[in-house]
């Protein structure tokens, strides 16, 4: 068994003599974590390789934050093993090579941005230059501002700045853009791309499909503590069928169900929400039949819908 695994490793990766290529930076090996007998992660295995940007995608309570906290050594697994850079994540030496952005409600509000950065830089033996931190996290001009005086997006960017203070090899971002407006979200995406371009390994958790899509080289979808599916963003999108058409129309929902590829029709206040794979064909048909149709929006499915699709397939 072990030899066959080793063999397949060799066939997959011809550059076995270069251990730095595709080297596993962090591994969760069949990890189970229970909280009072409720499993948050259930025999969950996961690997993060050097230079990857991986998105852990899942709804609230899927086990994303539990996975992050295990990788950061904040909690211990009930069963299974956690390894980061080949060591225990609780090892202080391991921690000097990891930067984390957690879901922090508040940091000491009376400290200035530059003071928070100065404090976190002191924790690392080879920190990033503070000007570099403020540049990458886009905090220029805000250095002397108290944390309490920052906007929501600026607060998140400060937390992002703290995550990169130590110039870490591995950066873990737990729902970094939650509560951000679109503009700050885009800005943070650019910042993550810059880190990836600099060769850092990034793990981010999110419940925004779009975020995983635009940033990740690999997406791991989890729910109920288990991997639902895994692959590149386009592979994942392929497995989630249907787009959402939302519009105000006089057409009969029963009729809409008869259109090709329509899987769902729901009423949402004054509008109808139609889920269909061939969205263009359905919209064309609807526009032809209802000249009063207004407020048309077409979007990719929300993650909750994707999960219904993904879990019902399994």
């Amino acid at each position: 068994m072990a030899t066959s695994a080793a063999l397949s490793e060799v066939t997959k990766c011809p550059l076995v003599n270069q251990p730095l290529v595709n080297r596993a930076i962090a591994t969760l090996h069949s990890v189970t974590k229970r909280y009072e007998n409720v499993p948050a992660l259930d025999n969950f295995s996961f690997q993060l390789r050097a230079g990857e940007v991986v998105a852990l995608l899942g709804p609230n309570g899927a086990g994303k934050t539990t996975a992050v906290r295990l990788l950061l050594g904040l909690i211990a697994p009930t069963a299974g093993s956690v390894r980061v850079m080949g060591r225990d994540p609780r090892d202080s030496e391991t921690r000097t090579r990891i930067g984390a952005m957690l879901q922090v409600a508040r940091v000491p509000e009376v400290l200035r941005v530059c003071e928070l950065i100065d404090l976190f830089r002191s924790y690392y033996p080879q920190p990033m230059d503070s000007r570099e931190v403020t540049r990458i996290a886009r905090l220029e001009g805000l250095e002397d501002r108290m944390f309490a005086k920052l906007s929501g997006g600026q607060k998140q960017r400060t937390l992002f700045g703290l995550a990169i203070c130590g110039n870490p090899d591995l950066i873990i971002l737990d729902e970094p853009t939650t509560g951000m407006d679109i503009e700050s979200r885009r800005a943070l995406w650019d910042e993550v791309r810059e880190l990836a371009a600099a060769g850092k390994t990034v793990l981010l958790t999110t419940h925004y499909l779009e975020e995983a899509d635009t940033l990740a080289t690999r997406v791991v979808v989890i729910n109920h503590g288990k991997t639902v599916c895994e692959g590149t963003p386009s592979e994942i999108r392929g497995s989630i069928s249907g787009r959402r058409i939302r519009c105000i129309t006089q057409l009969d929902p029963a009729f809409l169900f008869t259109l090709p590829t329509v899987t769902d029709v729901k009423r949402d206040r004054e509008a109808l929400v139609v889920t269909a794979e061939a969205a263009e064909d359905v919209v064309r048909e609807m526009l032809l039949r209802d000249r009063t149709l207004s407020g048309l929006e077409i979007s990719s499915p929300a993650l909750e819908d994707a999960f219904v699709a993904l879990t019902s397939q399994a």
Partner: protein, 261 residues
């Protein structure tokens, strides 16, 4: 040869590194407490207010000296319980402590910063009260008495830091202020912070020796010769015992919570 050279090279560097963390942690913790006006103004302001009320009405009397010392003890207790108890319990609830624990920051640096900063506040309160005693109190204090009181305030911060830590690990952040007041106010009263213990009802006088605040007050009052007759070493031992028991209890609770999380 080269190996020893490397070992010698590494040690000062890592000592510098650790030293830098401790210095920054203490510095920013103190700045944080100072800028948190709800904390700094009330912790320093209450002893000042009480001294202006009761110290000045007892001008030129021994009681003006007594209150200077007893309110300093109150400063120790409030700075430690509110600074550490509420500080840590809030930072835990807000996720800030977790972010720090995920970083390479040594846990001891965090705790140390809280204790040093709270003790610094206790010393500030002492100095303010000494100035008030010499002015509005109309009494005099010798340099030697000030030095002894400073040492007592610093050492006395330890058992109450431990108590604050225990409160922080046991009590949720939103009920921490209430619980701390519930501990702090009756304890201050029963230990003679407001008036000498001998003026208190008999049943309270019997309870007093069970309280760490009583022992702190006796040690501090001994400096100005206002302590009840007794052995000072026993008071020190009581405080040391409290320190060990409270730190131990906080440690056990914290590690148990960590194992369950």
């Amino acid at each position: 040869m080269s190996a020893t050279a490397i070992a010698l090279d590494v040690r000062p560097a890592s000592m510098n590194y650790l030293g830098r963390i401790f210095v920054k942690e203490v510095r920013y913790e103190f700045v944080r407490m100072l800028r948190t006006r709800a904390f700094s103004l009330s912790v320093i302001g209450f002893p000042i207010m009480f001294y202006l009320l009761f110290g000045s009405s007892n001008r030129h009397s021994e009681f003006a000296r007594y209150l200077m010392v007893s309110y300093s003890c109150m400063g120790v207790v409030s700075a430690c319980l509110f600074g550490i108890g509420m500080g840590i319990s809030l930072e835990r609830a807000q996720g800030w402590l977790e972010l720090k624990l995920a970083s390479p920051m040594p846990r001891l640096a965090y705790l140390c910063a809280k204790i040093v900063s709270s003790a610094a506040f206790a010393v500030i309160i002492l100095f303010v009260l000494v100035i008030l005693a010499c002015t509005v109190g109309g009494t005099h204090v010798t340099i030697f008495e000030i030095l002894r009181l400073t040492a007592i305030v610093l050492a006395g911060s330890l058992p109450f830091a431990a108590m604050g830590l225990l409160v922080a690990v046991l009590v949720p952040a939103n009920s921490a202020p209430g619980i701390i007041n519930l501990i702090y106010l009756p304890m201050s009263f029963a230990s003679g912070f407001w008036m000498p213990v001998s003026y208190l009802p008999h049943w309270l006088q019997r309870i007093a020796p069970a309280l760490p605040t009583y022992h702190l007050a006796q040690i501090a009052l001994n400096v100005i010769g206002a302590a009840q007759p007794g052995n000072m070493a026993a008071h020190w031992q009581a405080l040391a015992g409290y320190t060990l028991v409270l730190f131990g209890a906080a440690w056990i609770v914290f590690t148990r919570q960590e194992a369950e999380s």
